[in-house]
């Protein structure tokens, strides 16, 4: 058989490509059990017995309590992301440049927690953040605190626990770009007389930016959406969009409020994904 025999009968239209049929079951499944419910939720949140309405949203946004909830959500997510970035950026470099043994140890300590559920890890953090917990003992031992303090059920405790659970999602995307950077680039800069700071800001940082953007997007969107972690680490007094949504469905049986907060949360999550994808494309990296 020569290669030429395959070419004369090309499908008349790309729509009739028979291979496309293989995608049909998965796409129909997702359309029915995933896309349809999301669209239904969206439409229902805009409908009232009399027709189209934005009243629930006006009501939601005119209540100062809800603005505090939105503020809590974004503030905690921002702190968690910042913490992960400060720890994760140098950690990704260490992972890329380490010798074989250290690299294995680091990889295990990054991937193993990824395979364990949030309930398990958040429960462990309940123990760590107690008044007699590891963090308190460490701070007193270092002389930074005069007496043991309880971090559990505080915002700081929530940020610490969430940052611990999401840190791998910051390290891995940055690592995936750092390992592609040729270390000789920076040396070349040095040969040409650039200072270490100049080399970092003009060579290394721009090259790692796509990884940083996707890491920030992962951690920020997961922190905005997290539900189990705040339920266990901060309690009912501190509400985020996610815990408020959960409470209104599971405890208060207030479906109207729940649908409204769910849609606000959905819009927030989608805009983070869209913004980071756009930014990633602009930076020319893979997302």
């Amino acid at each position: 058989m020569t290669p030429a025999t395959a070419s004369p009968q090309r499908p008349p239209s790309p729509w009739r490509d028979p291979v496309a049929l293989l995608a049909v079951p998965a796409v129909i499944y997702f359309a029915v059990v995933y896309a349809y419910p999301l669209v239904w939720l969206l439409l229902k949140s805009f409908s009232s017995p009399t027709g189209f309405t934005v009243q629930p949203y006006i009501g939601f946004l005119s209540d100062p309590f809800n603005w505090r909830v939105i503020g809590n959500t974004l503030r905690v997510a921002a702190w968690v992301t910042l913490f992960c970035l400060i720890v994760g950026y140098p950690a990704a470099f260490a992972l890329a440049r380490a010798g074989a043994f250290v690299q294995i140890v680091m990889l295990v300590s990054i991937i193993l927690p990824l395979s364990i559920g949030a309930v398990v890890k958040a429960f462990a953090w309940q123990i760590v953040l107690r008044r007699d917990g590891v963090v308190s003992q460490l701070m007193v031992g270092l002389g930074l605190w005069d007496e043991p303090q309880r971090l559990l059920f505080t915002e700081t405790g929530l940020v610490l626990g969430a940052a611990n659970i999401f840190l791998p999602f910051m390290i891995l995307p940055i690592y995936s770009v750092v390992k592609l950077i040729d270390p000789r680039l920076s040396e070349a800069g040095a040969t040409l007389g650039a200072t270490p700071l100049y080399r970092f800001t003009h060579v290394t940082l721009p090259l790692t930016l796509p990884g940083v953007v996707s890491g920030i997007a992962f951690v920020f969107s997961m922190s905005v959406s997290m539900f189990v972690i705040p339920s266990l680490l901060v309690g009912d007094r501190f509400q985020t969009l996610s815990t408020l949504t959960g409470r209104s469905f599971l405890l208060m049986r207030n479906e109207q409020l729940g649908s409204t907060t769910a849609v606000v949360l959905l819009v927030l999550a989608v805009s983070i994904v869209v913004a980071s994808t756009w930014l990633g494309r602009r930076l020319g990296g893979r997302t």
Binding site: L172, G258, V273
Partner: protein, 266 residues
């Protein structure tokens, strides 16, 4: 080497060591508490004991929850592997428009808040007349597991030489047989790692499962959170330790099959 470079290097290494300690803290604490004798989570434990593991047998609701979780995770992963692989073949081999959109659509549950997906499904399923809790749970978990399969298998298929299928057909295999006998073995590592991560994601899911729960059907994370709220004692740490063990086994298998560095690909 300048003083500044040496300093930078030290800082980076300290951060690396601190990262390992920080990341392992919850796992080490879980294991230490589960093997300790203290009822109030004293660390380091005053004495070692297996009493919390002995308690597991008499913990009400644990075994049914574990059974439901394992069943749902296994069945939904298998369904996802079939649907996801077929779809991945179409996405990699097909020349039809909208492939990029389909792939984003199928991976998108990973990026949206689980709680919102759960609420939407709860109401959507109701509007379709589906009221059986177990069936709803299973149907929902396919949405949790499929993204992992599609993401990994599309990547692996991109590297597969499809002329091997043509070779098999030239030698007398029909198309489905060629897929099963040539493609499946070649993709085995991708199947195993993506299947593993999908299985663990289903086992660990809370925010979607919580909406498909009743007195008889509870998954393990839901039962565990209920224990934490009702009666927090190190029995929960013993259950957690079991899940940590499961993750370690999965990691060792993953390392043997594809290597740790491959698992870290993002």
């Amino acid at each position: 080497m300048t003083a500044l470079e040496r300093l930078t290097r030290y800082v980076v290494w300290i951060v690396a060591a601190a990262t390992v300690v920080f990341l392992m803290t919850p796992l080490v604490v879980t294991l230490a508490v589960s093997f300790g004798s203290s009822t109030v989570f004293t660390l380091p434990p005053p004495d070692w004991s297996l009493r919390w593991y002995e308690r597991l047998a008499s913990t009400r609701g644990l075994l049914p929850a574990l059974t439901v979780s394992l069943q749902v995770a296994a069945i939904s992963t298998v369904i996802s592997m079939v649907l996801g692989t077929l779809c991945a073949i179409a996405l990699v081999r097909g020349r039809f428009p909208g492939r990029e959109a389909i792939s984003t659509f199928l991976v998108s549950p990973l990026m949206l808040p689980g709680l919102v997906i759960g609420i939407a499904m709860l109401q959507g399923f109701k509007s379709m007349g589906l009221r059986d809790v177990y069936a709803s749970l299973l149907i929902a978990h396919v949405v949790i597991t499929l993204p992992y399969i599609v993401r990994t298998v599309v990547g692996a298929l991109g590297l597969f030489d499809f002329s091997l299928i043509d070779a098999a057909r030239t030698l007398g295999c029909n198309y489905p047989a060629a897929l099963v006998r040539v493609l499946v073995p070649a993709l085995a590592p991708a199947f195993l790692t993506s299947g593993m991560f999908a299985f663990l994601a289903s086992m660990d899911n809370y925010p979607i499962s919580i909406f498909f729960t009743d007195a008889w059907t509870k998954t393990l994370p839901i039962q565990m959170l209920q224990y934490v709220e009702e009666r927090p004692d190190p029995t929960i740490a013993a259950i957690s330790a079991g899940l940590v063990l499961l993750a370690i086994v999965a990691l060792v298998i993953g390392d043997r099959l594809v290597g740790l560095r491959k698992l870290a690909d993002f």
